[in-house]
Amino acid sequence: MIKKVLVIDDNEQDRKIAERYLKKSGYSEIVMAINGQEGLSKVNSENPGLVILDTMLPDIVGFEVCQKIKESKGPQAPLIIMMTGAVDAVDAVRARQSGADDYCVKTADGGPLLAALKNISEKDIGPQT
């Protein structure tokens, strides 16, 4: 059961959009990180059940962050949805290879994120209501 969600994105606008749609999907505990380093340390300290991860971060490439999370946490690793502003087939494949559970494009209406969250909640037991 996912309780906590960590959003790793350097763009404030994108973090806000993600937060809004996470709340809309019933996730109440949301933690933010503005770069890969902060994201990695918060994965350890906050222990989220789900991570929303931007592909392009200022310090570490998103795919690397994804891989590090999955490797360090093993079977206890959180689910990871990678989000991108520039959709690209090579990136999508890289995301999957890095262990991402889903890959979606950023839009203002958050449609793809909502769909990905719905997929995740079907996989998981979903957020606590």
Binding site: A89, V93, R96, C104, V105, T107, A108
Partner: protein
Amino acid sequence: MEQAKINIIIIGAGEKTKALLELLHSHNTVRILGVVDKDSSAIGIKCAQKLGIPTAGDYREFLARNEQVEIIDLSESKEAREELGRLSNGNTKVLDSRASIIGILLQELNDKTSELEKIRAELDIQSWGLKKTNEGIRTLYKELEKKNEELSKLDQLKSDFLSTVSHELRTPLATIKETVLQIRDGLLGPTTPRQQEFLSMCIDNTERLRRIIDNLLDLSKIEAGKTELKRKLTDIMSLVKRTCMTFSSKLSSKGLEIKINFSPEAAEVYLDEDKIIQVLNNLIGNSVKFTKQGFIGISVIDKGDFIECSVSDTGKGIREEDLERLFSKFQQFGQAADPEEKGTGLGLAISKGIVELHRGKIWAESKLGQGTRFIFTLPKYNPRQVLKERITDSLRAGLRTQELISVLIFELSGFSALEERLGRQKVVSFLDDLAKMLQEELPSRERMIVEADAMFSMLKETTKAQALSLKDRLLSCASEFLKKKRAG
């Protein structure tokens, strides 16, 4: 000649057997006589059954007397090995899993399988990535479409706003100007010369304001696609000459020379005279405004399919990075020599709109310190193209207003005179040509009713009978209208 097949019997039915069966069953030099295992539900037995290979609990079932047989023992049982070992003779060869060739084969098989699995996993990831990307692109495309729609709505709103506001501004301005004029000219009592001077200033500025509003109105009309060209065939040379004349006093007062370069033959272009004069006035006016000394060059060259007009000057020129913004709204570069001639920043945007409405192009070339050259082209038209354009324009106008019924009336005047001059044959073929062209240009040909004297395009929801009865009513209305018009 068919190659002799090797007959084999496989003993034991585990994973290895299954792999071997999959590898060998379609091989054309191998005939698998059967698979043997006491456990009839073993994985290798199942596999053999699926592949249509006989199975049994005892190998003896597959041994015929005079047949070369190779028995492959994969059972890994000691008893089986010992028993089978005794079988080895001229006709029967027994290999077991310890035989090096079998070991290599099985190892190879294992490697291949795991490699295949790796490739399949990789392919799965690739296809997952592609699927996700496609989803993303589709979403983005939809978003783009939505944004585009919103933008064009906003643009329309802006144009509507601009034209409304401009109209509202024009009326009071006319009143102000008229009032001030009357005061200045002493119609409302005596004024001192100093007062008159100030009032004149007031009038000049009102005039400037009116020019700006007119320009805004022109531009908003062009942008809203509401500008209609009143075109006719015009001699472009004489039009340019006439426009140049209006600048002669200004040119001589600034001591500028005018150099003219025209193609020798007169060229007729299908254009809106007032609008093209507006473009020329703007271009020549700009050149005069920004040129302190030297000359203004004007040329009209016949380039075959189109006419190229250009206005060049020896002014201070425009920086290269400014050239592309030149035709955008509210762009002004450089200060006019005379503050009273301050422009509105709209002239070139309007000129561009007008030239493009004529399906021409406009651009500028310039070198800083050496001068600027503005060039615009106007395509030449043949009558067929003119007619074609008129039809598509009226159709588009009809679509834009979204009126339920649009009637296109084609009136051919002077028919008998034409017949007399050209001969009946030519007139008939011309009419046929015309009808064909109309049919080509009008949308959804299958929804057309073509009669001897008329053609009608139907709306989607209308049946042919409805359309015909409507046609009769329309025709009687139209002929009534035309009769009245002629009488009046």
